[in-house]
């Protein structure tokens, strides 16, 4: 019986299109390169202690501001040079992936969770829940993100938890708006009508039928949000409002590099490249996934 109800876009994709959807994802060079890069970052973050050539916190003032490979005065083993305190830039870069990815995954995940739950409720049940949630989103979005983040960090204090909380509190609306609209669109389709005719409970239809069909959009949004989260964390680390300064972060390294820009350009350059590549990867991955998973765009 349930075959009828699930002969929805999802089921259609399963029968004739699932292989092509996977195929579309796996043949898009953008998605492969971007996804591969992010996978590499994840591996670096998890196995940082085994991969990093040096201790990222070990200071040696005798080895301060050494240039990277090929520079005059290069010290073997310090491939990307050292900062003014003699800490190895490459090792700090590798350890820096930990904070960047933690914030990216946790903040984007939580923002997606809150936004999606509220968006599904608003889009599916309509009526007063929709009215309340939609007004809330409107009021929220009238408040410019920068003001809200200044205020939130002032209130919550610095630290990685505050950074994550600030991102979730500011950006859940992105998910809520899109998922609400998607849900309303799906609710009009035949498979939902079929499921209702079969007498399934509303909640079951929402979770078992509609949610899988809004999932592609959700995945793309999460990827984009991760890119935003990485930047926000880097900015707050840069100004010294994220984790304490001895934990290696890309933003912290950039701030340090900005101060000694004339003595050692590499201290700023390498974390900046890492940051840019990461943001670009999340962006391209989100974009590619959206194209691959969206049946309308595919045609």
């Amino acid at each position: 019986m349930s075959e009828i109800a699930t002969s929805a876009p999802r089921a259609a994709a399963k029968q004739k299109g699932h292989r092509t959807v996977m195929g579309a994802i796996l043949t898009d060079p953008k998605v492969i390169i971007a996804g591969g890069f992010i996978l590499l970052l994840v591996i670096l973050a998890i196995f940082a202690p085994y991969i990093a050539p040096k201790d990222p916190l070990e200071q040696d003032l005798m080895l301060g501001t050494l240039p990277p490979v090929n520079g005059s005065g290069y010290e073997p083993g310090y491939y990307l040079g050292t900062d003014d305190l003699g800490r190895d830039v490459l090792s700090r870069l590798i350890y820096g992936t930990r904070i960047a990815l933690t914030v990216a995954f946790v903040a984007a995940g939580l923002a997606a969770l809150f936004g999606t739950v509220l968006g599904l409720i608003a889009g599916w049940y309509g009526g007063w829940p929709d009215a309340v949630i939609s007004r809330l989103v409107e009021i929220w979005m009238a408040f410019p993100p920068v003001l809200l983040s200044i205020l939130l960090v002032a209130v919550l204090g610095s630290g990685v938890h505050s950074v994550i909380a600030a991102i979730v509190i500011i950006d859940w609306t992105r998910f809520c708006r899109v998922i609400r609209a998607e849900t309303m669109g799906q609710a009009k389709l035949d498979y939902v009508t079929a499921a209702r005719t079969m007498g399934y409970p509303k909640l079951r239809i929402l979770i078992r039928e509609i949610l899988p069909n809004v999932a592609p959009v959700l995945v793309a949004l999460i990827s984009l949000e991760m890119g935003i989260a990485v930047i926000v964390e880097a900015i707050l680390s840069f100004v010294g409002l994220s984790v304490s300064s001895d934990t290696p972060t890309w933003g912290g390294m950039i701030a340090q590099g900005r101060q000694i820009i004339y003595q050692g350009w590499w201290v700023l350059t390498f974390p900046l490249i890492a940051l840019f590549a990461t943001v670009l990867a999340f962006n391209q991955l989100g974009d590619g996934l959206r194209r691959a998973l969206d049946p309308v765009l595919q045609r």
Partner: protein
């Protein structure tokens, strides 16, 4: 825009600003850290602390504090900065012009560049360069102001040191200004040496703020122009023998500009938000840079003043955008 809808919008703006004030006040009173604790010297007695608390009005109840604060704000008294020991209003008045000049210059730059590229790309839509422009712009769309600013620091500050890396003006020539609008004042008083110095200091922050906005304007306007170019009236004008340049500039642009202005207005508020970090990177003495110090120092009176100023700026930008959209689109008048 009719007088009634104008009144309506102004009223809404005022209500929004009051809402911002209430939220700011409530949020900042639940701050866990004690600002007084950061000001006192280690040997201060309890009586000293109480006196200080009373001096900054932090000993009264919350509603009383709010009433006192909002009344003072309306009278132009924003309180005294805890970290800088100065009147908040005069600090804001000193720093705001720097940010206004920076944001305005970035806006002008972004509009000119975005409009230019969109028009040129439309004129040569069938050339082999068109996909290159699209790809490049797609890449530019992914680069935020923070990364632009730092890349510019490396490029024009270190690799080719052509522009000054920090500040707003060379301290040697900063004397003799009557206002804080250095750019405008040196322009109108024809002091070209000063104008050049101020401009050189502004180039990198303006690029960092303007380039992301320019690529957004390019994308949206190019799409709107492409849609307009296939309309019947364009075909008619083309049949009449109008040149392609006139076609785009005179006919298509007029019909494509409305949505672009609306979007530019929204994005301009993000640009103003971006001044916070960009000013920081270039040590530019505006209100954005000051906001970061205020948060680091937990300087509540200063944070309140700054957030209200930013809030007022955003509201003004939104009002101006609405007015411009209505101006360019007579159909909206009804």
């Amino acid at each position: 825009m009719t007088a009634l809808s104008l009144m309506n919008r102004l009223l809404m703006a005022a209500i929004t600003l009051v809402g911002v004030a209430v939220i700011v006040f409530v949020l900042l009173r639940v701050v866990p850290g004690d600002p007084i604790a950061m000001m006192i010297s280690p040997g201060a007695s309890e009586a000293d602390i109480q006196a200080l608390r009373a001096h900054y009005g932090l000993d009264a109840s919350l509603p009383v504090q709010f009433a006192v604060w909002i009344k003072a704000v309306l009278m132009g008294d924003f309180g005294t900065s805890i970290s800088l020991h100065r009147d908040v209003l005069s600090l804001l008045a000193e720093r705001l012009p720097a940010t206004l000049e920076l944001a305005a210059a970035a806006l002008v730059f972004a509009v000119v560049l975005g409009l230019g590229i969109a028009v040129i790309a439309t004129l040569m839509a069938r050339s082999r360069l068109a996909p290159v422009v699209d790809t490049l712009n797609g890449l530019f769309l992914a680069v935020p102001d923070f990364i632009w600013a730092l890349a510019l620091v490396l490029l024009f500050g270190v690799l080719f040191p052509v522009f000054p890396l920090s500040g707003r003006i060379n301290p040697d020539v900063s004397q003799g200004f009557h206002t804080q609008f250095y750019l405008l004042e040196s322009l109108f008083t024809l002091r070209f040496a000063n104008l050049l110095d101020v401009s050189l200091h502004m180039i990198m922050p303006v690029l960092a703020l303007g380039l992301p906005l320019a690529s957004i304007i390019t994308k949206v306007l190019k799409q709107a122009l492409a849609e307009a170019m296939v309309q019947d009236y364009i075909l008619l004008a083309r049949l009449k023998g109008m040149s392609r340049l006139r076609l785009v500039m005179q006919e298509a642009l007029r019909n494509a500009i409305g949505p672009t202005i609306a979007l530019t207005g929204v994005q301009f508020t993000f640009l103003i938000g971006g001044t916070v970090i960009v000013e920081r990177i270039f040590a530019y003495p505006g209100i954005g840079n000051m906001a970061i110090d205020a948060v680091i120092n937990r300087d509540l009176p200063l944070i309140q003043g700054l957030v209200l100023v930013f809030g007022a700026l955003f509201i003004l930008v939104n009002l101006a955008t609405d007015a411009l959209v209505a101006w360019f689109n007579p159909r909206m008048e009804a």
